[in-house]
């Protein structure tokens, strides 16, 4: 670890802290339908959309109606994306590489993936998806799924804020306003900023260039015998990348236009673009803590939640950065220490550089990996599979905690609010009083639904992972055996259920088994968790708000923050510690003993 690395991490957090309040206050105005400076441009567009779709913006919905609208919308867009993927070869538009139709299992997995904001990619995008599919099927989903998550978080916040109401808002209005007022304007400016750094944005066919230094490659021929060829040219993929990159990060989607994701120089060209990308992952989720405080009338409660998230973020990044700064004990004779050629002239930052871009270094790789898995983004600028065992455990553990450390856009906030309900309930049990959250009694139904939300997540992950380690179809995709291979499988299901989408890599997920089971995992991890969350929101909205009394547990101070962090760690640790022990922790101990697995 170096002072420079810590300084960059500190600068990242300082900028996030500065951005959270204006972002949160702006979103509160957008969802409360108050005036904003974008109204002259966007209100006519909004009205036109409602007129075309027959939406009455003044009619609000109860939680069942709100949930049903969200499910119908998600089902329709999933099928649309599936159809586009299957028909891309037949549509004479934006397919200059003449890419074939996407195979059914993969098409369904991808449609489920982008509908759920997961953006798990079991394919090489530049070799599989036409520009039309990337733009109409996938990039639009990046907006829709993000706006859906934001709408759901707002519905939950309304449930807390309202008294004796059966309504949570109008799903279509929240979806539209989140897209038009929040996502689109930021993405337009953001995409241009990425272009200024070197990200590409075009619709032309791929370039073929002559290599400066031809490469000799030996590979098995048709008859199985080795054939040596000299490669003199290279194909460089093109496409409308910057526009997709912006929403990929801002919407915590994470699905790359290129296979290398944010490690590709077109997606993430410079250290500045890298900083922008990390900040944009956390921008909306951090802002939501301020939105929460504003809409429930307790700004301090919003900041208490913010600091609980910040503490967990720092614990993650510190652990990951430390782990990745350690030398690999199996690389005998390799000097892995920090090395400088003189003042300000760094030769090596020291530690594990495998799978990392030298443009970003260890500190920014560890920070990116932590941020992308704290949130439900899943974009990567380094390969998590190449991390040291404990370094790779951090992204995995982050997702296992439910991605509530700032979290996905909207999803992080409503996930955290479920933990708030559980924390308040536990606090009530400890002092022997009826738990109250901001003046509302937390009762049996609220706790039942919260626990359903908490339990579905490990159930689907551990269930499918257990079956996969028993079946040849699950084991045949592994590139490593032993605890590392186990981690690859657990990571795939955790990433899918958490709607994260980052891959540990090393697992060939483009098989019938993984395409279908990971697709189911994504749908369960998204929609079957949203439903009980909405049920809690709907139930809270109907309750009276009691004035604070001596027995009220305050949710706007340090004690609450500490309790919340404790509950999150205990729930996460108790649920997943056995799996982590069999995976990264065992691998770490074996590595220290000089044992590795191929």
């Amino acid at each position: 670890m170096t002072p420079n690395g810590w300084l960059q991490i500190a600068v990242f957090f300082a900028l996030l802290l500065l951005a959270a309040k204006p972002m949160g206050l702006y979103m509160a105005r957008v969802y409360e339908r108050k005036k904003t400076w974008l109204d002259p441009v966007l209100v006519p567009v909004e009205r036109l959309l409602y007129r075309l779709t027959g939406v009455d913006a003044d009619v609000e919905m109860g939680w069942i109606e709100y949930g049903a609208a969200m499910l119908i919308f998600s089902c329709a867009t999933l099928l649309l994306t599936y159809a586009i993927e299957r028909l891309q070869h037949a549509i004479p538009l934006w397919n200059p590489q003449h890419l074939a139709a996407v195979e059914p299992y993969l098409a369904w997995n991808t449609a489920a993936s982008f509908t759920t904001n997961t953006n798990w990619q079991a394919y090489v995008p530049e070799q599989t998806m036409s520009y039309l599919t990337q733009m109409v099927g996938l990039a639009t989903h990046n907006f829709w799924s993000a706006a859906t998550g934001m709408a759901l978080a707002i519905a939950f916040i309304r449930g807390i804020a309202r008294r004796e109401s059966k309504k949570l808002g109008n799903f279509w209005v929240d979806l539209t306003r989140g897209t038009l007022w929040v996502l689109l304007p930021i993405c337009i400016v953001y995409a241009l900023a990425l272009v200024s750094q070197g990200a590409i944005q075009n619709l032309k066919p791929y370039d073929t260039v002559t290599l400066v230094e031809p490469q000799t490659v030996t590979a098995p021929g048709a008859d199985g015998k080795p054939v040596t060829t000299t490669v003199t040219t290279q194909t460089i993929a093109q496409g409308p990348l910057a526009s997709q990159e912006a929403i990929k990060m801002l919407g915590t989607n994470g699905g790359g236009f290129m296979n290398a994701n944010s490690a590709h120089p077109f997606e993430n060209p410079t250290p500045f673009s890298n900083l922008l990308e990390m900040l944009s992952i956390f921008l909306i989720p951090a802002g939501f803590t301020v939105t929460l405080g504003r809409m429930v009338g307790s700004p301090k409660h919003g900041w208490a939640v913010f600091w609980a998230m910040a503490v967990l973020w720092f614990a993650g990044v510190a652990t990951c950065y430390w782990a990745e700064s350690q030398p690999n004990p199996l690389l005998h004779g390799v000097d892995q220490r920090v090395a400088t050629a003189g003042p300000g002239q760094s030769l090596s930052s020291g530690g594990n550089t495998e799978g990392k871009e030298v443009r970003f270094g260890i500190a920014n790789s560890a920070l990116f990996a932590t941020v992308t898995t704290d949130a439900s983004c899943g974009a990567v600028n380094s390969m998590h599979d190449s991390f040291m065992p404990l370094g790779g455990m951090v992204p995995l553990a982050n997702i296992m905690m439910g991605e509530i450390v700032f979290g996905g856009v909207g999803a992080g906030m409503y996930g955290m609010l479920i933990f708030v309900i559980v924390s308040v309930f536990i606090a009530g049990l400890m002092v022997g009083r009826t738990p109250e959250y901001l003046g509302k009694k937390v009762q049996a139904f609220d706790v039942q639904m919260s626990m359903l939300y908490v339990l579905i997540f490990p159930l689907v992950i551990l269930g499918f992972a257990a079956v996969s380690v028993l079946l040849p179809a699950g084991l045949s995709s592994l590139s490593n055996h032993g605890p590392h291979g186990f981690t690859q499988i657990v990571y795939a299901y955790t990433s899918s259920a958490g709607n994260n989408g980052s891959a540990f890599a090393g697992l060939n997920a483009n098989t019938h088994w993984y395409n279908s089971t990971l697709g189911i995992t994504m749908l369960v991890g998204r929609f079957l968790m949203i439903v009980p969350m909405l049920a809690v929101a709907g139930n809270l909205a109907t309750k009276k708000i009691a004035p604070p009394s001596l027995g009220t547990f305050p949710v706007d101070n340090t004690l609450f923050t500490v309790l919340l962090v404790g509950v999150i760690l205990i729930v996460g640790a108790l649920t997943f510690f056995p799996a982590l022990s069999l995976g990264p922790i065992l691998e770490h101990l074996l590595l220290r003993s000089g044992i590795s697995f191929s």
Binding site: A68, C75, Y82, A111
Partner: protein, 34 residues
């Protein structure tokens, strides 16, 4: 054939999800609920 199977699977999932909404709602009404 696969396309029809995936269409049916998708519709079935969301149908079950809607039933699940009503299943959750049916749990409400216990002694301690508001």
């Amino acid at each position: 054939m696969s396309d029809i199977a995936f269409l049916a699977a998708s519709l079935a999932f969301f149908f079950v999800a809607v039933l699940y909404v009503y299943g959750c709602q049916s749990l409400k009404g216990g002694r301690d609920d508001a």
